[in-house]
């Protein structure tokens, strides 16, 4: 068989196998709204782990981490720090979110804001910002599938057909199996990513340099400034590092899809245990970094750093292995895309359409609408990804800065009785506004600090100040009180 055929067969086998497991994992379950969105709140430690890992290790981690190591150098280390610290935050935050969700039957992030602050406009604004942030992320995943499959199949499958096939498959298993199907596809995806990352991270330096130590010694000799900050960049120094790590560590669980995954857990304890384990899993990224750094010397001068990992794999390994990486890479894009599409559809049907357009809808009708929305969103994202441009990446960064602005509303809402609706709403609007303005007008970094972080500080200050100035917290219907109506 030709190299193309071998590689192609491996990709197809993996994607088909992963999708099939998704269908099987969720088969024979009655799909009501709660089962579809949050898996009936029945996930133990293992499924919570798979879902979290499935969401975290997106194509952005796979191609982006190695791409940053390749094109930017030292600043890429922020990824290791922020992921670990995001889990530290989750250890303290998620159990409280889970308890509130359990008590009030929440399924989405917007439900949380609606219940805690008792204001449907705030809840609708939260869903709107959430959806607007998710769509570019979703598109980025689809674009990632296109790139990975194209390179791994030696160009036999073009970008658009690859994206179309991936969209059809992921819409199908989300439609049929909801969040449970996504967690099960993650089984295949994470096993493969783990194996591929270790094989690449050890194999590439070994084959080209004789070992990891020799590779770093050669790189430190050839490009002495590449391995520390700001590396190959001018603006990404230590102030940028601290502000970006803080922003992304605090904001990570504010992505609506990651936030909602909290509600799938069977108990708050499962979330705490997951937080203890997850940092160790981020060690996988270290191996991806090895490949990215090695690529600086092996395949210098690539125009697009995101292609560094695949380029170096193609240069080093036989075609079947490239196929395995391609298949794993495709699933790495499809799993997060699936949960993003599910979350965006639920937010639209449950938190925008029902409260604002037709409050009489039953849960079953909302579930049907959400599933229909999955199909529509899938097609919309496919069209955007097929005809879209590179501005998507900058939109994604705006999205990250945007969702992080939910953080004050969540933390103050959980742990500070005096947080009021006007305070949190004003802070959120100021934060989102500042983040969007600064980033679209290209003031990022601003004074060496991450613009989203500056917006977050503003948001916190306003939320606290307006809360203190506005009416007493007891006026807010769902505010935590000493009678523990909320807690």
């Amino acid at each position: 068989m030709s190299a193309t055929a071998v590689s192609l067969a491996a990709i197809l086998l993996i994607v088909a196998g992963g999708t099939a497991i998704g269908f099987l994992g969720a088969a024979r379950r009655r799909m009501n709204l709660e089962e579809w969105t949050v898996g009936g709140r029945g996930f133990g430690v293992a499924l919570v782990f798979l879902l979290t890992a499935g969401e975290v290790y997106t194509t952005f981690a796979f191609l982006g981490a190695s791409g940053w190591a390749y094109s930017r150098g030292g600043p890429t280390l922020y990824i290791l720090a922020y992921l670990t610290l995001a889990y530290v935050v989750s250890f303290f935050l998620l159990p409280a979110i889970w308890e509130a969700g359990h008590r009030h039957g929440m399924q989405t992030q917007s439900d949380f804001f609606g219940t805690r602050y008792g204001n449907r406009y705030l809840a609708a604004f939260v869903s709107l910002v959430g959806i607007a942030s998710l769509v570019p992320y979703l598109d980025l995943q689809l674009t990632g599938v296109g790139i990975i499959v194209q390179v791994a199949s030696f160009g036999a499958i073009g970008r658009t057909p690859a994206m179309a096939a991936a969209t059809v498959l992921l819409v199908a298993f989300v439609f049929a199996g909801g969040v449970r199907a996504v967690a099960w596809v993650s089984v295949v995806k994470d096993a493969l990513v783990l194996l591929a990352a270790i094989a690449i991270g050890i194999g590439v330096p070994l084959i080209h340099f004789g070992g990891i130590g020799a590779m770093f010694a050669a790189l430190a000799h050839a490009h002495p400034r590449h391995l520390t900050m700001p590396g190959a960049t001018t603006g990404l120094g230590h102030a940028w590092y601290v502000s970006t790590v803080l922003l992304t560590a605090l904001g990570f669980y504010m992505w609506p899809n990651v936030f909602a995954a909290t509600f799938t857990a069977r108990s708050a304890d499962a979330l705490r245990r997951n937080a203890v384990l997850m940092p160790l899993y981020s060690l996988v990224l270290v191996f991806i970094f090895f490949a990215g750094f090695a690529a600086v010397l092996i395949v210098p001068g690539l125009a697009d750093g995101d292609l560094a990992l695949l380029a170096v794999v193609r240069r080093t390994f036989p075609p079947w292995f490239l196929g395995v990486v391609g298949g794993a890479g495709a699933l790495t894009a499809m799993v997060p895309a699936a949960i993003q599409i599910l979350t965006a559809a639920t937010l639209f049907a449950k938190n925008l359409f029902r409260p604002l357009v037709d409050p009489a809808l039953s849960d079953d009708q909302v579930a049907r609408l959400a599933r229909a929305t999955v199909v529509v969103l899938g097609l919309l994202s496919l069209a955007l990804a097929a005809f879209g441009s590179t501005t998507l990446v900058s939109l994604l960064l705006v999205g990250y800065a945007g969702v992080t602005q939910f953080f004050p509303g969540v933390v103050l809402g959980l742990f500070w009785r005096r947080a009021t609706t006007p305070g949190v709403f004003a802070g959120l609007i100021a934060g989102v506004g500042a983040a969007v303005l600064l980033m679209l007008m290209r003031h990022d970094p601003v004074f060496g600090l991450n613009a989203g972080f500056v917006a977050l500080c503003l948001n916190f200050l306003i939320a606290v100040a307006v809360s203190l100035l506005s009416a007493t917290a007891a006026d807010s219907p769902a505010a935590p009180s000493r009678s523990r109506a909320w807690s």
Partner: protein, 74 residues
């Protein structure tokens, strides 16, 4: 009813990784000394990923200890 707020001791345990991996970056962001063949900054972060997990494991024991029904609060 267990208190929803984590104890101060557990929060301090959670603060340690932030200090080590984030705020102190100027102290450890350098190549030398290379340890186990890795640049010092990468080596430092890898060690702290493991130690962060350990900090959370200790916090987990503390928190679940607090939660046992009938057990008196420390």
């Amino acid at each position: 009813m267990p208190d929803r707020k984590p104890s101060a001791g557990s929060l301090l345990l959670g603060l340690i990784p932030f200090v080590a991996m984030c705020f102190t970056v100027p102290l450890w962001d350098r190549i030398d000394p290379m340890l186990l063949g890795l640049p010092f900054n990468l080596f430092w972060l890898i060690v702290w990923i493991v130690l962060s997990s350990l900090c959370l494991a200790i916090a987990y024991r503390r928190e679940s200890g607090r939660r046992k029904p009938g057990e008196p609060r420390p």
